[in-house]
């Protein structure tokens, strides 16, 4: 490698560079590491702009929690600058109902009783349930929180409360993306990350075992190994470890090959990815729905919340694309009950062949 890549580490709420200590050490032999400081900002966008200003070159953005939201904002602002993206223990949705009141309680607590009191209240739910009494973990985290001020806390919560809704942008993230989460993360749960990984076209998901929200510290080794492997900074040993311990999904469309060439197995990832399309198609087993599909296909598809991309694939009868988006042929075949097409034509389309050639060359028809 001629030039060392630049990695930006983006910390979460009330976190500083210390939270990244293990990962910084693991990555430092392979890259130039810069750690962002978000203590002075009160919007996600301002944080993202400050992080982008830390380098002129293309970079690898690794964000934890709020830092991962900043990373997604960086992609929105400057997609060409981000070569690879890692999102850890985070979320994509905007403010929830009632969230503001709950956050205000914490803001008031920090001002009234200080950062120590805030740390005692805030930290335990962030950790694996079995480790909320573990002082080796709590002590450094509490010290970190106490280095922050009630004003910083207030600013960052303002930023979080006004966070953008990133969900609609996920399908536009083009760079290789690693989504990572502690299996016992109660704050931003696994299911949320499975969904993110399914919505980002070029994403893989790694689950960190025996970890809550503070995975960087709770399972620093697992996190570092997954990062090294994802970034290609590894030897064979580390890759075998991660393959055995983490959950690494592959899809040919995502740059890593199917285990059996050109053969998409309907695994967890595809099932999650294709749930909407397949549910829509399953509906066509009902004559009432077939009638609705015939009368106004677009409206019928909207009932199942299909994304614009999914909708276009269905409406243009793009079978290959439907399968790429997680459609399973047994479900989507029902579309051909409403709008007839032979299964061999669907096969030929996916194989990228003329129908007659497909019958002759693949199926051996004379």
């Amino acid at each position: 490698m001629s030039k060392r890549p630049i990695i930006l580490l983006l910390p979460g709420l009330l976190c500083d560079a210390s939270i990244w200590e293990a990962q910084r050490a693991a990555l430092a032999p392979f890259a130039e590491i810069r750690i962002a400081d978000f203590s002075q900002f009160d919007s996600i966008e301002a944080m993202a702009r400050s992080a982008l200003a830390l380098a002129d070159e293309p970079l690898i953005a690794i964000g934890h929690s709020m830092g991962a939201r900043v990373a997604m904002e960086m992609i929105r602002l400057a997609p060409e600058r981000i070569e690879k993206l890692v999102l850890i223990d985070t979320g994509v949705d905007p403010r929830r109902d009632g969230e503001e009141a709950k956050r205000q309680v914490m803001i008031d607590l920090a001002y009234a009783e200080g950062m120590g009191a805030l740390a005692d209240r805030w930290l335990p739910p962030m950790l694996h349930e079995g480790r909320v009494e573990d002082q080796t973990l709590l002590a450094p985290l509490k010290a970190m929180v106490m280095r922050a001020t009630p004003e910083q806390h207030h600013r960052q919560l303002q930023a979080l409360l006004n966070r953008p809704n990133v969900r609609p942008h996920l399908p536009n993230i083009a760079c290789p993306t690693l989504v990572m989460v502690g299996r016992q993360d109660r704050w931003s749960p696994l299911a949320q990350h499975e969904e993110m990984a399914s919505l980002i076209p070029n994403a893989e998901l790694v689950v960190i075992e025996e970890s809550g929200h503070m995975s960087l510290l709770e399972q620093s080794e697992q996190v570092s190994r997954a990062l090294l492997r994802f970034l290609g900074f590894e030897n064979d040993e580390t890759s075998a470890d991660v393959a055995a311990g983490g959950e690494v999904n592959t899809m040919s469309e995502n740059g890593s090959p199917d285990r059996i060439p050109d053969t998409p197995l309907f695994d967890r990832k595809r099932s999650l990815r294709g749930y909407r399309i397949n549910k829509m198609a399953m509906g066509l087993g009902n004559p009432v729905n077939r009638e609705a599909f015939r009368e106004n296909e677009s409206a019928y598809l909207d009932r199942f919340g299909l994304t614009p991309e999914e909708k276009e694939a269905v409406m243009t009868r793009n079978w290959r694309e439907m399968v790429r988006l997680g459609g399973n042929l047994f479900f989507i075949l029902k579309i051909s009950a409403v709008d007839p097409v032979r299964i061999t034509e669907i096969g030929a389309h996916q194989a990228g062949m003329e129908h007659a050639d497909f019958l002759r060359d693949r199926l051996g028809k004379k």
Partner: protein, 288 residues
Amino acid sequence: MAKLIGGLGTSHVPSIGAALDKGLRDTPDWKPFFDGYIPGQEWVRENKPDVAVVIFNDHGNTFFLDKVPTFAVGCAEEYRPVDEGWGPRAIAPFKGAVDFSWHFIDTLIENRFDPMICQEIEVDHGLQVPMELFWGKPDEWPVKVVPIFVNVIQYPIPLPSRCYEMGRVLRQAIESYDSDERFVVLGTGGLSHQLQGARAGFVNPEADQAFLKDVADNPDKLANMSREQYVEMFGSEGAELMMWLVMRGAMDPDVVVRHKHYFVPASMTGAGMIVMENRAAVARIAAA
């Protein structure tokens, strides 16, 4: 006690049902395929089974992805054809062997198989087509059925060896069932085919022929193959073939092949049929 008189294997391609519905049986595309089943139909007429245990998979018609049982066993009075998108097919509803189904479920659980129990459930072409291929299209079915649904769509799908072991438990259930009824077991699905991805249209006639031989002579080899090997050798949907192992596991190690048939392509599939009897039973009949 009830008796197992034969193990049948067959493809269950939906186009076979559609070809019958459209009256295409004797067209050049289909005649050689259907003619190959005539000996199988004769075997069924001569041997008069009372109950057919049918191992098959639902194809996103009865089960959606919200609930996916790895193994499910029907214990309903009646199984109606499900609407697969073209309206339910005009074939007689299948009559259930309710009492045996419950006995089978008991036996499974006692042997550490834990199936989903289905008292009301519809069946798709996976069960319909094999029944039509062996029994034609009667106004009323001359056999009762026991459907066993196997998930071969949503990964993780079960191990081939597990299907084989389930067959042994099925045999135990039949032979411990207090009745003089005659049972056949139908393993269905396959043979090689692939409907999805750029390898769609993959068929492997050589592997199919070898499978039809091995399923009789060397079933342990088939049971010890990985799921990935099935997909590689028979295509992503061809992995259905592992369901034949439930049927094979119910038979003795030593079997006699009565009839065998192979045809490619039926629609996009290598299609095959086999009729087997236990050699020991054949010898007993010969001696009597």
